[in-house]
Symmetry: C2
Subunit: 342 residues, 2 copies
């Protein structure tokens, strides 16, 4: 069993820098695209054998040091009573977005064993098959709320922020409900065998630090405090969140996921004490190998200045990325870092 | 003639904090929406009388201290040989995006007097009508290139960055051509009577600081150095660009436009020495008045700590904003700041 990822989460000494890639299981893989011709995302996640296969593909292909369960952050939302459709090329779409106090009050809680048994079954199955740790994940309340209120992906989150600023009571009720769901959902996944849990607060960088402290930090603190007891590493990631990084550092988490606009050294100089995960700009993966290698080396050199560094992309892998590049990059990271650390 | 905006650009003492709003002329105004039922954006900008009317509307309605010429940053691109359509609810769309060296080589230069005479005529007309300064603007090379390469608005700019990282020679040729165009276009507008020039590098925050220095800063430095001789204040704005703010501060500009994720005090503490413009989150304008007033007061209190502050939104006004709120906010800013500064 390859423990390097878990060691890095705990800031223990590594033999080499562990690596995995956000969206490593997905449309960059020809085998996945073939499966997607027959099944939707929801259909794949409802079939544990198939979902485990999709989750394992990148582990076998690229040699990464962790698997991340294939699913979508919106997966548990239908069980709360809100229909979600994942539309190709768009993302999660909700026909009846929530806008009022009544809409929020109507949202129910989930019972993972009844509502998402297939998620738990897939985790159990994967644990019998994998020789790397299994990460599972959920969306953070702000990011989930943004889809639920806007009705889909958004650039400006005007409606989400309008609720936050105009009706804080409804906003905090929504945060509470999504916080409860996240804790319940994560605990069930950890009980089923998840060895680390990452929360994607992908879009929270749209808020400034003062608003983060007022409207978001309390629920994030509660979620992570409640999950802390479970004993698995907790990771928090979002894009464009450099200005929130010291707020995140206050939370009871183990790892902060960086995007490409803050380097590992900068993060530590700003005072971040958590393990770090990141942060190559995935667009660079379209460039010639020498450009990729140079950038990877810069990131590794900074990352390895302290224990607790996991190599990853700064945002998810996207369809045009050549999987041969991911394999080559993984090998390079292992070789380069083992020379320095070994 | 109300000179407060120009005084603030030059960091001279103000009698009150001047205010204008990005996209103040636009879909938040019922009169504008009525005009848009009959004419497209391009059709409006081709008719100087009508375009002047649209530009003046918010000056008359809200009492702002500067007018900004109604047009789109993509306006000069068709004259370079690339067809652009502004699609409602989407933005600029280009059917044949540029991807190769040949595509970039084919781009021509503009002759403003021949290619966009209506822009110059509108400026001349407005100068006979306005009693506040007239700002005109252009898009920065990165932001223009992002539309030209992606073919429309984008979240990740993968193709744009792919060209930048993979083929720097073509990238710099594109930056040169867009830089030349920007200088030519701006000089013609200033000669026609524009009293300040703002460059929108709206999306450049997608790059990290190291890449900004390598791929963007040289052309920005050249543009502003060449425009410097014209003697009008130069403003640079982009969203999500907090991590680039000290790079911007090196450029020969007068004013830095802030989004809502960096406060005026923070910017100055980081070492910014330019005049500042910003930065209320436009989403707050959907909230009750007491929330708006509190936030405006916080921004003003910080902004007024040094001379050279212009109140604005941190990103453009959007359709749902009530114009009555903009009028009330403008009045509040004038009254509150004149008490402190007067």
């Amino acid at each position: 069993m390859n423990q390097e990822f878990l060691k890095a989460c705990r800031k223990e000494k590594n033999a080499f820098v562990p690596v995995w890639y956000m969206r490593q299981a997905g449309r960059s893989q020809p085998e996945y695209r073939k499966i997607k011709e027959k099944y939707s995302l929801f259909e794949i996640t409802h079939q544990p054998e198939l979902c485990a296969q999709v989750t394992k593909l990148p582990v076998d292909q690229h040699g990464v040091d962790a698997a991340i369960l294939y699913k979508d952050i919106m997966s548990p939302i239908p069980a709360m009573g809100l229909d979600v459709e994942i539309k190709a090329g768009i993302g999660p779409v909700i026909d009846k977005p929530i806008r009022t106090r009544e809409d929020v009050e109507r949202l129910g809680q989930i019972t993972p064993e009844q509502d998402v048994p297939y998620v738990l079954d897939t985790i159990k199955l994967l644990r019998t098959q994998l020789d790397v740790p299994l990460i599972t994940f959920g969306g953070a309340p702000f990011t989930l709320a943004s889809y639920m209120i806007e009705g889909g992906p958004s650039r400006d989150y005007h409606n989400t922020k309008a609720m936050m600023y105009s009706d804080p009571e409804t906003w905090f009720l929504l945060m509470d409900k999504l916080g409860d769901m996240t804790v319940t959902y994560a605990k069930a996944q950890i009980a089923a065998g998840a060895q680390a849990f990452q929360i994607f607060d992908s879009w929270v960088g749209a808020l400034n630090a003062a608003d983060y402290r007022t409207y978001i930090k309390p629920v994030m603190h509660r979620i992570f405090s409640e999950l802390r007891e479970e004993g698995v590493p907790l990771i928090l990631y979002g894009t464009g969140a450099r200005h929130l990084i010291m707020e995140w550092n206050d939370l009871p988490i183990d790892v902060i996921g960086l995007d490409w606009r803050i380097s590992p050294r900068e993060a530590r100089q700003m005072g971040v004490t958590k393990a770090l995960q990141g942060n190559i700009d995935p667009s660079i993966l379209l460039a010639p190998w020498d450009v990729i290698e140079k950038r990877a080396k810069e990131i590794l050199d900074e990352g390895m200045e302290e224990p607790g560094f996991i190599f990853n992309v700064g945002k998810g892998i996207f369809p045009q990325v050549d999987i041969a590049v991911l394999k080559k990059l993984t090998t390079f990271i292992h070789e380069y870092s083992s020379k320095k650390l070994g």
